[in-house]
């Protein structure tokens, strides 16, 4: 099934992937990959978060709704989370989101959680390459047409400053 899809897409299929990266480890590793001029697949789009513990199941599902062919979360190594245990929570949520994808008929292989330290630039690059290859094999998710895989849930607009919450200091 997936091979067939990949074939239909032709050899030129370049998946687009959203990578949610934590500031302290994965994002830093990505910068280090840059400093050391490692080359990796240009398919990933990094969205920086302070900690992978900030990543919500909603964000993971939204990535696919917006048209991503794959999505991954990259956080600190187990036990090394800058915020103690955010990466462990992220893993649980990623696993949960995989089950939702499965129920929605989307291959859960399209979603993954990875761990790496700030010094692991080669791991960052290799992860980007390997996940791109995996997504390429899985083929395009929606053949150009987007679907709402999570009907009925609408995100709130951002909060605005209220009078009860005045600026504490002229920054």
């Amino acid at each position: 099934m997936t091979d067939e899809k990949a074939e239909q897409a032709g050899p030129a299929f370049e998946p687009k992937i959203i990578a949610y990266c934590c500031h302290y480890c994965a994002y830093t590793a990505a910068d280090l990959a840059g400093s050391t001029r490692l080359q990796y697949a240009p398919n990933i789009r990094v969205i920086r978060v302070p900690c992978t513990g900030k990543i919500d199941v909603l964000h993971l599902l939204r990535a696919f709704e917006e048209g991503a062919d794959g999505c991954y979360v990259a956080g600190c190594l187990d036990g090394d989370c800058h915020f103690i245990n955010g990466n462990l929570r992220a893993r649980k949520r990623t696993d949960y989101a995989k089950r939702i994808l499965d129920a929605a008929g989307i291959d859960p292989e399209r979603l993954e959680m990875f761990n790496m330290s700030a010094a692991m630039a080669t791991t960052f690059a290799a992860t980007a390459d390997e996940f791109t290859e995996r997504s390429r094999k899985l083929g395009p998710l929606f053949d150009g047409e987007k679907k709402d895989i999570r009907p009925g849930i609408v995100m709130r607009q951002p909060m605005t400053l209220s009078a009860s919450n005045p600026p504490a200091k002229d920054e």
């Binding site: 080359q39 969205i47 990543i55 245990n85």
Partner: protein
């Protein structure tokens, strides 16, 4: 200590290079006013001339530019350019220094740096010294485009108006009326409590070795000139060309030790320390710039003794195919027809080889800066035999005069991190002398009032950075800037050569005002390093710092997809859309003040820990010093002698006495860190001492936890009593317990346990230690035979002189091949066989004693410490600093610092100044009575809170609390900004500011969709 009411809360820093800037910034943060005097027309020093820095290949300008801007913008730093020291009088804590400020002929306040005068100046043929004469400059000029201050200067020797009273064009074209031909040199007098000399160096340009033909052969250039060719903002825009025909060279030879390690009258007896690595860098970058370039490095010993350097060297050879040839090149010959160059040298087998190259790059010596002798005379400082300021191993930044410190290249060749550390160290030291006057000279920064943007539609300004060719070489930045104009909310878009340089920031500031921008997106490098700089720029332009977003199109795009320009450009468009989408939803945020416990926890009571503790306490703040052993001293206990003659055991006794006696230092022996919680300014730790526990509160942490000596398994160690380590030899020599006499033969083997596959780093100290102990043996027993078997002798910097001394004493140095280590077998004596690469045959030595030079290895116990503190370590197990070059003692986590052997193997003197540096950095935080809490915190929307307590349970820091108002409250000062509670909250009643769900969703939409 001068603690009279006359104490001046200010410091003079002589030299505005990277070390001088670091010292100035640390001092200002610690509450002191700073004068930076530099003899050049702009600060920045040599680092401004560099293209990239080893071993991370970070762009030098990208890392230096933010410092330049910080120095330029700080109200409490007064930059005095074209300025030299004339005389000093007074005493520590209260000096009067007279400075001569040479005429610039351009008013620094009026000049806008627009460059109109430079464009019209008729004198255009003066060799540009900043570019090593590769191109020309005008008589009115700027030292370099990103220079601070961003002001022109007139070269009085060549200006037609000043020399012949003709011309005067610059005065006519200057709209700002900044030209003043009547300007005179002036004497400026400053009152300071101390002086830091960061006087830099001169890169020897003369062909100290004339046989290489520098100055005669067009295609023989210096390493610094090569650096300018590589630089994107250099004279060839980053293209390496042959001076003779402007063609791309295909074969480049790099010759090491040109004027260094050269005891002839033309050279310098010391090693310049950084050339092996910068030539390796040159070779790597040349190969990156032009495909098919062959790079060959000719060297004596490849000295890769810095952190990360051995791997860099290995990678250059294996991954990049750089050729390393161990041979001293006797001469270079130019081939008149095509100006190519022939090098003749001896190959490994002793045969004569001739090879032709297109370009020859000489790694010339780093010499004392030309003004050093006069400066030392005027400040009454002693110089060493080479003309550097004399310092001591046990007090490495102190000069012969109290309250005057020498940092960076002033006291001998060193790399950027060591220079930066010494600068922070000097800030820590001088602060102790003037602590009583802290804050007395500070001026508060005033900002324009904040624009009220609440309720306004987003007006986004986009600035796409070229970063020289770092971005523009891969991505079409002009097209990208045009593209950004078409995106929703964008009202202005521009592209800038270096967005982080002062002129780049000016462009952003003016655009904010002119186009009434209320959101700014810069597409450039990484927010990790550059976000604070751009945020400050927004605030200076009157808009809140948090209305800013960086699109990382360099580190995470142009650098990593340079092979695929089209797809890199496509990705850059996506990333810019993402940043704009996020910025459009950004709201103004405000910080809050938080308390600061002005106390430091120092982990480790060796030389580094004790020095750090005393430096912190010296400025009047309390320290808890914990040591897991029953006594203080650490590694220093096993060091009996030092090169240069200082007495390490006297130092140890002195440190112990001072630590014991200091009222502000609490020592806890046999103590480890059991638990730690909190954050900068507000740490709570539980210390465990023999089963009992103590709780302490502190605001900063210095990790000085040391390291271990490698326990060898090689060469019969532990099996044969004749096999010892250098430390055992040292103890034996001191105690007379080893059977060495005039009839003895001693063999030393280097690199035992280091530079192996398992530990691919250099032990840094072992070569010097072997030389030291070999000298000690020969001095005591001149007829004893001492062999040192080595791979590369890495007696770097000024230590080189002791290598020469050892050779003069008759120590026999024999090199062995990496793949063919010596063989040792036991008999009546020890039989050592080594393949002598020079003679080409095995050498058999019958040894009475075999000494193994074992390296320093990381302590396994530090893995747990790293986990407790949540700080990273390298793959070798040493603690990893925030930035290898510019934040060498900071951890990425605020309020935590590292020094000594826990960071990397280092000499005693290096541990001492690094400890002082860690203290100096910690003091920048500790000296604040209040800290400022981040504005990036979680906030509860009370009416949406269902009191389910998911946040209370999930917060790793126990910050969310139930209130009597029936909703959860999150205290901003305590919130760490991780956002875990936000993701856990089922009612979506919590938002993390700056990373709201709406912003993340908007980013996900924008990266995937054109509209």
């Amino acid at each position: 200590m001068a603690e009279t009411s006359n104490t001046e809360g200010s410091v003079l820093v002589v030299g505005g290079g990277i070390a001088g800037m670091q010292a100035a910034l640390d001092l200002v943060e610690s509450g002191f006013y700073v004068y930076v005097a530099d003899s050049a027309p702009a600060i920045g020093g040599h680092m401004a001339q560099l293209d990239k820095t080893f071993p991370t290949n970070d762009c030098a300008m990208c890392t230096e530019a933010p410092r330049l801007v910080d120095v330029a913008n700080d109200l409490n730093i007064e930059v005095l350019t074209l300025t030299d020291v004339l005389a000093i009088e007074g005493e520590p804590g209260n000096f009067t220094v007279h400075l001569r400020k040479r005429a610039r002929y351009v008013d620094e306040i009026r000049c806008t740096g627009c460059g109109d005068c430079i464009a019209k100046c008729p004198v255009k043929n003066l060799p540009d010294a900043f570019n090593l004469g590769i191109d020309n400059r005008t008589a009115i000029y700027k030292l370099y485009p990103q220079g601070v201050p961003n002001v022109a200067v007139i070269d009085a020797e060549h200006c037609l108006k000043l020399t012949k009273d003709k011309c005067g064009i610059c005065e006519r074209v200057c709209q700002a009326k900044a030209i003043n031909y009547e300007a005179q040199d002036e004497v400026v007098t400053v009152h300071v409590g101390g002086v830091i000399v960061a006087g830099g160096y001169e890169m020897s340009e003369s062909g100290t070795r004339s046989e290489y033909g520098h100055g005669r052969y067009a295609n023989v250039i210096t390493g610094l000139a090569f650096e300018r060719y590589l630089s994107a903002s250099g004279p060839t825009n980053g293209h390496v060309v042959r001076p003779s025909d402007q063609q791309t060279p295909k074969r480049i030879a790099f010759i090491q030790c040109v004027g260094s390690r050269d005891i002839t009258s033309r050279g310098n007896g010391y090693c310049s320390q950084v050339c092996c690595m910068y030539s390796t860098k040159h070779a790597i970058i040349a190969k990156e710039h032009e495909k098919g370039v062959e790079a060959t490095i000719f060297y004596i010993d490849l000295r890769a003794h810095g952190k990360g350097c051995e791997n860099y060297y290995i990678s250059a050879e294996k991954d990049y195919g750089v050729e390393f040839i161990r041979s001293m090149v006797p001469a270079v010959r130019e081939n008149p027809a095509d100006k190519s160059l022939t090098l003749a040298y001896l190959g490994g087998d002793g045969e004569r080889i001739e090879r032709e190259f297109d370009l020859v790059v000489l790694a010339t010596a780093m010499e004392p800066s030309p003004g050093m002798a006069e400066l030392a005379r005027n400040l009454d400082l002693k110089l060493d035999d080479y003309g550097f300021i004399r310092t001591q191993e046990t007090d490495p930044i102190a000069t012969s005069r109290e309250a005057i410190y020498a940092v960076g290249l002033s006291s001998g060749p060193k790399d950027i991190p060591d220079s930066v550390m010494q600068a922070s160290a000097a800030a820590g030291r001088v602060g102790a002398i003037i602590a009583s006057a802290r804050g007395s000279r500070l001026v508060e920064k005033t900002y324009p009032p904040l624009e009220v943007i609440e309720g306004q539609e987003p007006r986004v300004g986009v600035f796409v950075c070229h970063c020289g060719i770092n971005i523009a070489g891969v991505i079409d930045v002009e097209a990208l800037a045009e593209y950004a104009k078409t995106l929703p909310g964008v009202v202005h878009s521009d592209h800038i050569m270096y967005s982080c340089s002062p002129d780049g920031l000016d462009t952003i500031r003016s655009a904010i005002t002119e186009h009434k921008l209320n959101r700014v997106v810069v597409a450039a490098c990484t927010p990790r390093t550059h976000e604070p700089l751009f945020q400050e720029t927004l605030r200076e332009a009157g808009i809140n710092r948090y209305l800013f977003e960086l699109a990382n199109i360099r580190d995470q795009c142009s650098w990593v997809h340079s092979a695929d320009e089209a797809r890199a450009t496509e990705k850059a468009r996506d990333l810019i859309r993402s940043a704009i989408a996020k910025a459009a939803l950004a709201e103004p945020l405000y910080t809050v003040p938080i308390s600061n416990t002005q106390r430091c926890l120092v982990i480790g009571g060796g030389a580094a820990g004790m020095t750090a503790a005393l430096t912190v306490a010296g400025q009047g703040y309390g320290v808890s010093l914990i040591e897991r052993d029953a006594e203080l001293g650490g590694h220093l206990r096993s060091i009996r002698t030092l090169l240069g003659g200082d007495a390490p055991q006297e130092l140890l006794a002195d440190l112990r006495r001072r630590v014991d006696e200091h009222p502000l230092v609490d020592v806890h022996l046999e103590t480890t860190l059991k638990e730690i919680s909190g954050f900068v300014g507000n740490f709570k730790s539980v210390l465990a001492t023999n089963g009992s526990t103590t709780e302490i509160e502190h605001g900063t942490i210095i990790v000085a936890a040391g390291a271990k000596s490698y326990e060898p398994t090689e060469y019969l160690y532990g099996e044969n009593a004749r096999v010892v380590t250098q430390f055992q030899l040292e103890a034996g020599l001191a105690g007379g317990t080893l059977p060495i006499d005039d009839g003895s033969t001693v063999v030393m083997i280097q690199c035992v346990g280091n530079r192996t596959d398992e530990r691919p780093y250099c032990g840094r100290v072992c070569c010097a230690q072997a030389v030291k102990n070999a000298i000690a043996i020969k001095e005591k027993h001149p007829r004893a035979v001492v062999h040192v078997l080595y791979r590369d002798l890495r007696v770097f910097g000024l230590y080189e002189q002791y290598y020469l001394a050892a050779r003069k004493l008759g120590v026999i140095f024999t090199r062995y091949d990496d793949d063919d280590p010596p063989k040792v077998s036991a008999g009546d004596k020890l039989s050592v066989t080594v393949n002598d690469l020079v003679r080409g045959e095995p050498m058999h030595i019958s040894a009475d004693l075999l000494v193994l030079s074992v390296g320093v290895v990381a302590d396994e116990a530090h893995e747990a410490l790293g986990m407790q503190l949540k700080v990273p370590r390298t793959s070798d197990g040493f603690f990893l600093e925030a930035h290898v070059k510019l934040r060498p003692v900071d951890f990425a986590t605020e309020g935590m610092f590292v020094c000594g052997l826990a960071h990397f193997p280092k000499m005693l003197g290096e541990s001492i100044f690094q400890a002082q540096a860690a203290a100096g950095r910690a003091l920048t935080t500790m000296s604040q009575e209040q800290l400022t809490a981040s504005a990036v915190v979680a906030q509860v929307e009370p009416e949406m809170c269902k009191q389910c307590l998911a946040c209370v349970r999930s917060c790793p820091y126990n910050v969310p609390k139930m209130t009597h108002m029936h909703y959860v409250q999150i205290e901003p000062a305590e919130c760490q900004g991780c956002g875990i509670c936000v993701a856990e909250c089922p009612a979506k009643a919590i938002q993390l500011r700056r990373f709201t769900d709406a912003q993340i969703m908007a980013q996900a939409h924008a990266v995937m969709n054109e509209t």
